[in-house]
Symmetry: C2
Subunit: 264 residues, 2 copies
Amino acid sequence: MSTDGRRGSIQSVDRAARILKVLGSGTSRMGVTEIGERLGLAKGTAYGLLRTLESQELVEQDADTGKYHLGPAMLQLGNAFLDNHELRGRSLLWADSLASRVGEAVRVGVLHGSSVLIVHHVFRPDNSVQILEVGASIPWHACALGKAIAAYLDPSERADLMDVELVALTGRTMTDRVALTHAVDGVAEDGIAVEDQEAIVGEAEIAAAVFDHRGHPAGAIGVVGPVERLIPNGGPSPSLVAAVRETARGLSRDMGAGRLAARG
Amino acid sequence: MSTDGRRGSIQSVDRAARILKVLGSGTSRMGVTEIGERLGLAKGTAYGLLRTLESQELVEQDADTGKYHLGPAMLQLGNAFLDNHELRGRSLLWADSLASRVGEAVRVGVLHGSSVLIVHHVFRPDNSVQILEVGASIPWHACALGKAIAAYLDPSERADLMDVELVALTGRTMTDRVALTHAVDGVAEDGIAVEDQEAIVGEAEIAAAVFDHRGHPAGAIGVVGPVERLIPNGGPSPSLVAAVRETARGLSRDMGAGRLAARG
DNA sequence: GAACTCTGTTCGGCATAGTCGAACGCATGC
DNA sequence: GCATGCGTTCGACTATGCCGAACAGAGTTC
């Protein structure tokens, strides 16, 4: 047996999943040969896997070029994930009311690998054009949602997060592990995470963790918008902080969290 | 080899894909036993497949109940599908301009199985609350998008569509195969499909097919909104019809379609 | 236009990798 | 405290999926 995958994983299924992820990461379509090479598979093997995925419409083949890309069933399943997602479902009303209370966009995210996956997004309540971010991934260290979640993880899980490469998205992204650890520790103290132009220049975020009934962080909810409104005088706007904190607390209660949640 | 799946399909991968779809279709989470029964698998087999999918975060297991549901990687892949989707990418600008021209919501969809999968959705340009429909599936016979696409399919593909059970979503849904065939034939003549409260009471849709560079229907684009505005006097509003027709034509040209597209 | 080099695809033989079914530990409910 | 359901583990058998080499095209290049 080869060394990849975890103990007891079914080889062919594991490989099929890897193919899907490779097809999802690469921005354009890929051929059998390229996929095989990238995963260390014989061409014939990769072909068989692709054919199977294609018959399920998880993957589609370009009629002319013969190259492959993700299929429509993938979108349907992604949508089904959202429909069944407990945090998302419970956050719909809370996010709406937070957005209209503060007049800014609201995002809800969960940890996925070393990134935060946006599972809900409410537009800023004005008429500006905004792009929907549901489904997008943001490196955990470059957003307030990520730091809010990281602050309440088990030490081992947190160590895993610290081990990843801390890519810089802007000049202000925190790439120093010591400084980042300090920042996360600070979040654990007052329950609020702040991000100041660490992902996009000119944009800031204020977020707080949401807990499930076991007291574990199920995700986070936060407000995003222009720095000058979120962090007016060098520090986060107190009214926004209060609104985010109250919303996160209410949402946690909805999720079944007791009063044990580690923040005041 | 067992009888399920297509010739040459890899058994375990095929079964894994089926598990994902079962988890996606059922509204709530499911256990190993239930999944095994529904697919005719031994419990141990289903368990192995689930463990593998879990290690890839395609499925998640509830910490307390032990039941399974779709995982976050699914959402990420669904989003990746959208990013790579040619029709969606090219339709973004066209859909925006159509929406602001007619003042109604716009949808873009592709055929997936016997349903239309919404790949893009522009809200009606007013301040009302609207839910995003990207990722949703609508039975092809109950929406204008579906009829628009069906009109230009190969006879065999169209026959497949006609073979499915024509479920009634409202009292006006077309469930009679003869009438539906007539309606689709009519679409092929003037290039415009109309749906009048066949999916949701009070809502109507006007749509036209979009063609790729081979002249095949790649999908459809259409306007949705209240019947009284879309179909004011028993027939579809001429100005809306013109706007939809022009948009679909322009979008088809973007996709590389020649002037051969079968409609005037 | 022929040789060359890429594709994606097919095929058969070998042994590995996956399936099955029975048994386990643990809840929950009578 | 028995009974029944769950998710999980394990080992044996053999069906199953893997590999590598050969195939058929489409573009290139000289």
